[in-house]
């Protein structure tokens, strides 16, 4: 059923593109973009806090992802002749990206996608991504999930630790499933950008956003930044981009605050870049990521306000943390060690002179085989849904 609905949307998009109203192209693109946010506003699909991935409408499965893809294509295609309608439709209704992205914006489906030789060749290249994706999403992310109980705590240590753990949890779940989807799409001949490029190796919040959820960032840049920058200038257009991103996650007060928070830090960082204040920018990035994640996760405005007041007011700080009450299994502790190693490597590798791109060191044949061996021995099924999608 959801494929039929996505098919209808793709046909509607083709009709809009075929109309002579090319000057309204941007408006049509925005119209498609805001379908997702409007559906969250009317509660037809869930918002995307990372805690309610099961909260989705089966008929509208993947709608926030394929409407984004359609809006990007409408905005990007200057002439109708550039669009091959059949390829466009197949790209929209490709369900591989519905559950978590990445959105396949680079090119439409290749013609030779079903040649066995090509499939084997591509598989040999991308299977290491598949292994790393399963390792991230099915082995590492579940081990962090046990710390998410800290969400209900109002203690300053727990709030900060929750922000940190939740960031890592979203990262390993989201990046892992994105890698799986990316690799599978490559195998069937669909090209998409990698959704993550070692974001924790970033030195500022600006760089972080260039490495986190890349397909969404590219679309937001195309849809909003490029169109608004000439009118409003840099800072206001960045603000609109973050607000659009916030609304894509869901129309609620916490996301508006999240958008405002991140855009403010982005602008401050951009300003400080002029003075080459790298340490301050790094510090701002850490604060922005942790506090931003706390804001992102909390739909209840009263609880969120209370948490924010704990962060701001020093008098409310105390050491009664719940952090140590959790008794994890030995394997979860080993997984946490892997998480620490991976995050540390992301942070340290650029400082040690290695290139910080595309998880190259985790995808070498030797490391990949060790990861596969551990994954096979520790795999307990697909016990965690893609936290960042399903709608």
């Amino acid at each position: 059923m959801f494929i039929l609905i996505s098919l209808s949307f793709s046909l509607l998009a083709l009709v809009l593109i075929a109309t002579p109203l090319q000057k309204y192209r941007v408006m049509f693109a925005w119209l498609f973009f805001f379908i997702g946010p409007l559906l969250t506003y009317f509660d037809l699909i869930g918002v995307l806090t990372g805690f309610n991935s099961s909260d989705f409408n089966q008929y509208l499965f993947g709608i926030t992802f394929y409407t984004l893809y359609i809006s990007y294509q409408i905005s990007k295609q200057k002439e109708i002749s550039e669009i091959n309608p059949i390829k466009f439709i197949f790209s929209v209704i490709n369900p591989l990206y519905y559950f978590t992205g990445p959105i396949p914006i680079y090119s439409l489906i290749n013609n030779n996608r079903f040649r066995l030789k090509r499939i084997i060749k591509i598989f040999n290249i991308v299977h290491s991504d598949l292994i790393l994706g399963i390792f991230f999403a099915c082995i590492l992310a579940p081990s962090i999930s046990y710390y998410l109980f800290l969400k209900s705590s109002q203690n300053i240590i727990d709030i900060v630790l929750f922000g940190l753990f939740f960031e890592f949890f979203v990262y390993f779940n989201f990046a892992g499933y994105s890698m799986i989807a990316w690799a599978l799409m490559r195998i069937i001949g669909v090209r998409a950008p990698r959704n993550f490029k070692q974001p924790f190796g970033s030195t500022s919040i600006i760089e972080y956003w260039q490495r986190w959820h890349i397909s969404l960032s590219l679309i937001l840049k195309e849809l909003f930044y490029k169109n608004l920058r000439p009118i409003f200038g840099l800072y206001i257009s960045v603000f609109f981009v973050f607000m659009a991103s916030a609304m894509w996650h869901g129309i609620s007060l916490n996301f508006i605050l999240w958008g405002f928070f991140h855009s403010t830090f982005w602008c401050i960082t951009n300003y400080l870049n002029k003075f080459n204040l790298k340490i301050i920018n790094y510090f701002l990035m850490v604060i922005c990521i942790i506090i931003g994640r706390v804001i992102f996760s909390e739909l209840d405005w009263i609880i969120l306000s209370s948490k924010m007041s704990v962060i701001i007011e020093f008098s409310k700080w105390n050491s009664n943390s719940n952090f140590l009450i959790l008794d994890l299994t030995r394997r979860d502790n080993i997984n946490l060690l892997f998480i620490i190693i991976i995050i540390s490597w992301e942070i340290l590798s650029p400082r040690l002179g290695f290139l910080r791109t595309n998880y190259n060191h985790f995808r070498t044949p030797f490391v990949s085989s060790i990861i596969l061996l551990y994954t096979v021995f520790a795999f307990t099924g697909l016990n965690l849904e893609p936290i960042y999608g399903n709608r």
Binding site: F51, N52, S53, S54, D55, P142, S145, Y146, L148, F149, S152, L299, D300, I303, I325, D327, L328, T329, R331, D332, P365, F366, S368, S369, I370, L372, L373, T375, V376, F377, A378, F379, T380, G381, L382, N383, L384, E385
Partner: protein, 275 residues
Amino acid sequence: MEIDKLQLSKGVKIFALIIYILHFYLYNLGYDVFFKNSISFKSDLELKDKLLSQKSCLIIIGGSNAKVGLSAEIMSKKSCNAINLGVDYEAYSFENYFNWFNNQIAVEKVIYSPAFIWSSSISNKKITNDFFVKIPDISIFSIVKSLFHEDEKIFNRFGDKSIYKCLPTKGSFKIITEDFINSNIEITHAILKRVLMLKYLYGDNIFIRIPPIYVESNRSENYKQLISERINLLKDLGVNVINSTVVSTDKNLFCESIHPNARGREIFTNEISLQ
């Protein structure tokens, strides 16, 4: 001798895949076929079989929520001798489960704790045909470990787990599904059918206990309202429903959404024992 790293990596990958295929095969065939003498691979039904010969006045039946979420030992201290016959997934099919204890144990009261009241689907053997269910939910590490540690499968003479600790293997505190909204009648009639089967054997003293779940505070009212509709429907059908906590916002009482921890088990059992 120089080792060809590329060939070695290829070999390791092929070895890992073969190991997993073997694990998948043995899991679906049943590890117990090969490890007959190890209790780690025996089903709960086999391990609890001897309990059926005991004299008792009350049995607790249900799936894992009854197995780990209620204590027959605590109930026995407060009233008469109770036995916990809870087994994982209600042995996958209530009919099989029912046939197991049917006519083998004489009791005055039955407490049935059906976890499926929280879902839209009913525990049934057909789910085992689903490919995703065939994916082993136990790791090879755990299989190897269980050959040397059998504590987790040991039950005391009341049928409660002797060693009780949370096993964080699934789901964690992810909010449980809300897809039960439109199937109240289907669910309540399925419960009624089972209650009638139990009544036929044990008379009128059949009590339904709603397994408590953990829900975040901002959503607890929704869940309470939704489950109360099902409880009212059951009561209208003449089913005895025990008054107890159905929705809890205290995470300290749970291993994850539907399974209480040792403290939760004690508190929730005491609630029932008082009645």
